[in-house]
Symmetry: C2
Subunit: 310 residues, 2 copies
């Protein structure tokens, strides 16, 4: 596949008044030179205290926006993930105030990763585990119709920081278009993540990503949709799972209980500091809703892949 163009330009919020940096036609391919979610503020020599000095205005840059010819409000922009060229370096952090158990983990923590960017074998998490990799784009979306600048942090109807682990090679994502030309941007590449991204960060890692664009007319999506070309968890599931649950009338409380129980289990069984168990869950364990109908109590489950610690 020839790449017509590489997008290096970045911005830090969703805003439909931003000028497009490129225009493509349906069928075209673009490459994006994506920074990690810290926007280059962390590196292989960084330490936890550097997290306290992060400039949050520079967090989570996205590359774009790209105008897609013929995309109009009510259409769906189809984006197929063709390939990644990962950097081989990444980080996972507990950023104070951020994460599902932010109240229980107030101190900054930072773990750095090195991985083989070609073979993409499992990455070592200190002496504790081997985490299978599956690169994907954490933030991918189009400009909202609402005027002004919108934070890059929360995802919304038009996509953005959805952090969906399966927007990986081969997946086609369908995004609701709200403005003419769609104004597409992408960033926040991850080398691995569990469903939930529970500590707030994944294996944050700069990569080049190659994407192909198409337009589905009048698809009238309410929210993003995607299609995967095959299985989504086989890099994780070979040895089964240890699973903790949280049961009660609130899904958020259930998710927190399941995560707290998994951290407790990993800490007791493997002698792992709790903060490491928390971050390890974020990069490989999956939050599922087992049951959402047996009123008044729902079952949330956290699936930790056993091969990571074998």
């Amino acid at each position: 596949m020839k790449h017509a163009h590489t997008i290096h330009q970045r911005h830090h919020g969703w805003d439909n008044s931003l000028a497009a940096v490129a225009t493509v036609a349906p069928g075209d391919v673009l490459e994006f030179d994506v920074l990690d979610a810290a926007g280059g503020q962390l590196g292989p020599a960084s330490v936890a205290e550097d997290l306290l000095r992060l400039d949050f205005a520079a967090i989570n840059p996205v590359n774009g926006p790209v105008c897609v010819d013929g995309a109009e409000p009510g259409d769906a922009l189809a984006v197929t993930v063709l390939s990644f060229a990962p950097s081989g370096w990444g980080w996972t952090a507990n950023i104070p105030g951020f994460g599902l158990l932010a109240d229980q983990f107030p101190q900054p923590a930072l773990r750095l990763w090195q991985y083989d960017p070609v073979a993409l074998g499992p990455a070592m998490f200190g002496r504790f585990g081997r985490v299978p990799l599956k690169p994907f784009t954490g933030t991918i979306g189009v400009a909202p119709a609402a005027p002004g600048a919108h934070s890059i942090v929360p995802p919304r109807r038009v996509g953005g920081n959805m952090d969906i682990r399966d927007i990986a090679v081969g997946t086609t994502l369908y995004l609701p278009v709200e403005v003419p030309g769609a104004l597409f941007s992408v960033g926040d590449t991850h080398a691995a993540q569990g469903d939930g991204e529970v500590c707030g960060t994944a294996i944050e890692s700069p990569m080049r990503v190659s994407l192909q664009f198409d337009v589905l007319k009048r698809e009238r999506l309410e929210f993003p949709r995607f299609r995967t070309p095959g299985p989504v968890s086989r890099h994780l599931d070979g040895s089964g799972y240890d699973v903790t649950t949280g049961i009660g009338p609130d899904l958020m409380a259930g998710a927190r209980a399941a995560l707290a129980a998994m951290i407790d289990l990993l800490t007791r069984r493997h002698g792992m500091p709790a903060i490491d168990a928390y971050m390890l869950c974020s990069v490989c364990a999956d939050l599922r809703i087992s049951e959402i109908v047996d009123a008044p109590n729902w079952t949330v489950a956290l699936y930790f892949p056993r091969l990571v610690l074998e």
Copy 2:
């Protein structure tokens, strides 16, 4: 494996004053002759209107209770699922007032299933789909310490109607013991279900189930935990997934949006009545929490396995 005993006795609520119908020692195996969740009130000749005549006091019988020697409050009861002998017959229903989209589907609906109880090949869902089977126990738990009768419908700390699809053959479940002897019961066998059980019922199907018991002393679980012996979704994942999302500040609203979008997609693409799409999602599609940290909006996703409709 020889079975010492089959438990036929059933009850309809959790109550620690119920007398044990059998006592086992750690390591023992019991077989349970489990009815479907309607407690035998539905059969191969049933129609949707029969749902309006269900006696809800007889719903979801469980077999037991069984006293496990040496199990004390603070211990975990370990229950390993050894095997199922399915009946080959089942039902899926939309019961008015019950289910994630109960407000949108007020009419009763009933679909009946026949499947090969030995080969367990995919079961036909009318002309619309082939649903891979994986039997499991929907309701499995122990008596709570709180006195009196507690409804069988909601799950709770001591387990019960958790409807966790992966409490299948080979899985070991750990339940928090709250009363001496644990007072274990099991029921509500399902031939297949997606994570979420979104319409409120699975493939409800009578089966015999064989379980082995053990006790972990002083495990002090907050909620149930389990371990699977291997992959959990390979019966579903071979052709990938179509995935819809719901994004916003409320996980329940996100789950409802993702489900509504999937029903819309299946209806448009396959000409399927919406009620059938709803029930089909309940027996094979998985609710996942993709992201629960990018405040204030979370991403909930519903994964529909494409092989079901190929």
